[in-house]
Amino acid sequence: MNYQFEFGWLFEYYPQILKGIAITLELIAIGGVAGISLGIVCAWVRALGPAWARRIVAAYVELIRNTPFLIQLFFIFFGLPSLGLQLSELQAANLAMVVNLGAYSSEIIRAGIQATPRGQFEAGASLAMSPFETFRHVVLVPSLERIWPALSSQVVIVMLGSAVVSQIAAEDLTFAANFIQSRTFRAFEAYIVSTAVYLVLAILLRQTLSMVGGLIFPRRAAR
């Protein structure tokens, strides 16, 4: 192998990489918060909603979990305009991530709700709380606390999966790597650097999420 590694381009192109990192972080911040919110709503419907709504949510979850994120992204970006819904690259990327994380997180959160002892629902009812109030004040937070580690891993998986949004020209970190390799022809170096950045981002995101968990669920931190 007589290949000369060359990282000099970093000095010229680091603004692109930083911009890519910013967009990747922005995508996962919006996708994470909105996706988990959607997941909570879907989990509530599946656990306590009317039968017809439960079936719709179940179909949505199964459909998303059994198709690749790339195809969901293409369907939203290229397919939906024929229904009159034209989205920019970043909007489409965000929507795809929310829809994707919503399905996965609803399954995780539902597992947390199902692990809630029956007596908790009954206790809420005996205090004259409506099913929704019981869910909101009694069931939800301990359920989320129970599954927070699993939910955190799913958020990290979605962040790593977001690398494919570069395929619809959303200018994330992978897009920056592609841009740099097309300018410098240093494909291997560009991808090694961005892979390392992704690894660091994944580790930082995991730590941030466990810190956030400690803040939202102070009982866990106290234990």
Partner: protein, 219 residues
């Protein structure tokens, strides 16, 4: 302009589905073998071997599969080999699958009670044979549902190989879209084909898990 019927589109997509299936099978079989080796490293008694496997898994689970594909595609080229897309796709998917399967299986092996290791050690059985005759047969039972479940991730993972130019279902979807200008129909059909491949696996993983739980409850 040529008119394309739904049947024309579907036929072309189904022809490309072959390659999605072949690539999934190759990745799963190859990933299983490398994953088994990783499992042995991960539970080895030598600390540096355990560390090695741990970092391998951390690396592959902490970086995007797409990047791994790019590195395989462009990295192998550095050795002066002309890398066809299928080779890079296969290798990257095998090593990626191995990292996840190795970690899933480690969990299953560790779920086996420690007393089983000790009991077989007290019978003077060597460590490899303890694995072979005592631990793995029990661990395999627990491992089936999550392993089947992960096969769905492998199939979905093969969609990314379209980006480095391997022509499978997703790539065929893009090509057919470019010819027909019907992205809604084409990507809808592509999604349905993936669903038809993945859903039976997801379902059987769930059913297997429930069966296993029942068996546990009866104990």
């Amino acid at each position: 302009m040529i008119e394309f019927t739904i049947w024309d589109i579907l036929r072309n997509l189904l022809l490309a589905t072959r390659w999605t299936i072949v690539l999934s099978l190759v990745s799963f079989a190859g990933g299983g073998m490398v994953g088994l080796a990783l499992l042995f490293l991960r539970i080895s008694r030598r600390k540096w071997l355990r560390g090695l496997a741990k970092y391998y898994i951390e690396l592959f689970q902490g970086t995007p599969l797409l990047m791994q594909l790019f590195i395989a595609f462009f990295g192998l080229g550095l050795f002066g080999i002309d890398v066809p897309a299928w080779l890079a796709a296969g290798l990257a998917l095998i090593f990626w699958t191995a990292a996840f399967l190795g970690e899933i299986w480690r969990g299953c092996v560790e779920a086996i009670a420690k007393g089983q290791w000790e009991a077989s050690a007290s019978l003077g059985i060597g460590r490899l044979q303890q694995m072979r005759y005592v631990i793995l047969p029990q661990a395999m039972r627990i491992a089936v549902p999550p392993t089947v479940g992960f096969s769905v991730q492998v199939i979905k993972g093969t969609a990314l190989t379209s980006i480095i130019g391997f022509v499978e279902l997703s790539k065929a979807g893009t090509v057919v879209t470019n010819a027909t200008f019907q992205p809604f129909t084409v990507y809808g059909l592509v999604a349905l084909i993936y669903f038809a491949l993945c859903w039976p696996l997801s379902k059987s993983s769930q059913i297997l898990e429930r069966k296993l739980n029942v068996a546990h409850r009866n104990h």
